[in-house]
Symmetry: C2
Subunit: 351 residues, 2 copies
């Protein structure tokens, strides 16, 4: 056991505040990481405030973790003290099911999330990355390049892989016409990644003010999705549309833009159901409505390597841990371009 410090939500109604706890002993397969930066994901806020009705307090959020290895267990082969390392949304899975065998641990029924998930090592819940250190088994620790800005790498661990995985799974590449719906934390990564994969990228937004930024990030076109005339010009033309907007909205205008055999993939579970999609849009062009969840460990490493090769990071606003509650309020308003990242050194200031 080793002492650790963090920011934690003591309850659904209280702001996050300084919290001391203990990390488990470093086991033979474990990697202990000093956390340098941690991204702020909307899921952190949902969980801190018990918006998914499954929070066990205290909640220490954070699953976009970048840091440096402090120590490793005796059986660890791939990491040594001093290496850069990263941890994403997952820290454990069964290791035996078809999903785990296929390197798709995110779909394992016994997957353990990085925070607020039952932790078989401690018997408590997992505690996330708003912390000075973390102990994670090697299989779930990723390598990152020292060529990229480490703070801006952090959001790749959730926002990056959540968009990369479906783009790869549905074989986006040169010649693909790809839509990205929404220009937030996920959407801005989707634009960058789809562009780097060689696709023709169209960003859909309800905010005309985002057009210039979308193009800077790599969009070839920007369509204001509330404008039916603009939408009509793209009917039957997309191979794939990745919809990063979780708020309930009508999916039909996007389904209608897909080519025959095209897929509309959703990244977010809406709090209130989307209007029921018009099945005719599916039947008359053999289109598909699908969903995708983060990504598996091998694919997360592939994504990190891809980002290093293509010099891709997240656009971020670096904050002190003491500003995380304010950041949550700004995130609710969409007032962030495009991801808050906590400089975890500021946590030590507090200790």
């Amino acid at each position: 056991m080793s002492k650790a410090i963090s920011y934690a939500a003591p309850s659904a109604k209280e702001p996050l505040s300084f919290f001391q706890f203990e990390r488990r002993e470093v086991g033979p397969k474990d990697v202990q990481i000093e956390i340098l930066f941690c991204g702020v994901c909307h899921s952190d806020l949902h969980t801190a405030r018990n918006e998914w009705q499954n929070s066990v307090y205290p909640v220490i959020p954070g699953h976009e973790i970048v840091g440096r290895v402090m120590s490793v267990g005796a059986e660890v082969q791939g990491f040594k003290a001093g290496d850069l390392a990263a941890v994403g949304c997952l820290v454990d899975s069964c290791g035996n099911c078809p999903e785990c065998s296929d390197g798709l641990e995110q779909y394992c029924d016994q997957g353990v999330y990085t925070y607020n998930s039952p932790d078989k090592h401690t018997g408590k819940m997992t505690y996330g990355g708003y912390s000075n250190q973390i102990v994670v088994q090697e299989h779930f620790v990723l390598h990152i390049s020292d060529k990229l800005d480490l703070a801006a790498v952090a959001p790749l661990l959730c926002a990056g892989i959540t968009t990369y995985s479906p783009l790869r799974h549905w074989k986006v590449g040169p010649g693909s016409k790809v839509g990205i719906v929404g220009l937030g934390g996920l959407g801005h990564m989707g634009v960058k990644l789809a562009h780097a994969m060689g696709a023709h990228v169209v960003l859909f937004t309800t905010s005309p003010g985002k057009a210039a930024d979308a193009k800077r990030l790599g969009a070839d076109e920007v369509v204001i999705s509330k404008n039916a005339d603009e939408m009509d010009k793209h009917v039957n033309s997309f191979d794939f549309i990745l919809n990063t907007v979780a708020a309930a909205h009508n999916l039909d205008p996007f389904l209608a833009l897909l080519k025959r055999d095209g897929t509309l993939c959703l990244n977010g579970v809406p709090e209130h159901a989307h209007p029921s999609p018009n099945i005719a849009h599916l039947i008359f062009k053999r289109r598909q409505l699908a969903g995708s969840l983060i990504g598996g460990i091998p694919e997360t490493q592939e994504m990190l390597d891809f980002c290093a090769e293509h010099n891709i990071t997240s656009d971020i606003e670096l904050i002190a841990i003491q500003d995380v509650n304010t950041a949550y309020e700004r995130m609710i308003k969409g007032d962030v371009k495009y991801r808050f990242v906590i400089d975890m050194a500021t946590l030590n200031d507090q200790a």
Copy 2:
């Protein structure tokens, strides 16, 4: 031009009745077919009664057509007088678009349906198979085996291909666990075809009385879909589920039965929307909700050859054309096992 006789709906509110009209001249690429049998599809009823608000009267329904070639145009290579021949739901398409190039004419934006579709040859609407003869360009005429019961072949042209195409597209075969929802005209063909493809077939029905028949037709298991306990036993286990039920119903219990990466494919557009599906079912296992429409011409020929090879036809009730209005009423009640087929010789009795 040649004189033809038929049963037609004079309006949405009148029963079908005897109707004389003219078929077009047999052009150089055309095949003229004496219609021996024509299946009765639910679409026939929808169109006869203008339930899709697009009917132009008179409507001559019928797109499950089996007959014998009477004459062929000068450029026809694949058929000669006396050959058996069949026509399904399509009689024309643009021939140039990606869909046509891929042999998926059913998804061509300029596809022409066998009845109630603008006919560029005549300037009127197309007239279907409740008739003594039809003139169709060779590309849309299929070969059928003389080894099968011709009357029972007719429903393959719609009910058969509509289930065959998605089963093939989603690669059903030995080792697949496949669900078929609904045991009607489409569902009973889905069970037979999926069984013949080597899949483990589970029939979902709300009617316990259909279990024995489903097993006779090829189902390995029958699940009463209203029984949550029975359904629970199959969670996360299906590769593919083909849902032939068009009536509005909750799709979530079926989505939950799919494995990771599994697909629920819908064959019918509901008159009233299904309840909005729970997107979590899609996201947490990367499942897909899809649709599929009939099948293309090459695949329809492949299906007919497959059925000949595996000795598959529809279970039918043969009727006289004079009984078609009664048959419609029985079809509405689900009182048919599993497809009415009109013996078109009975039309000549009337002439």
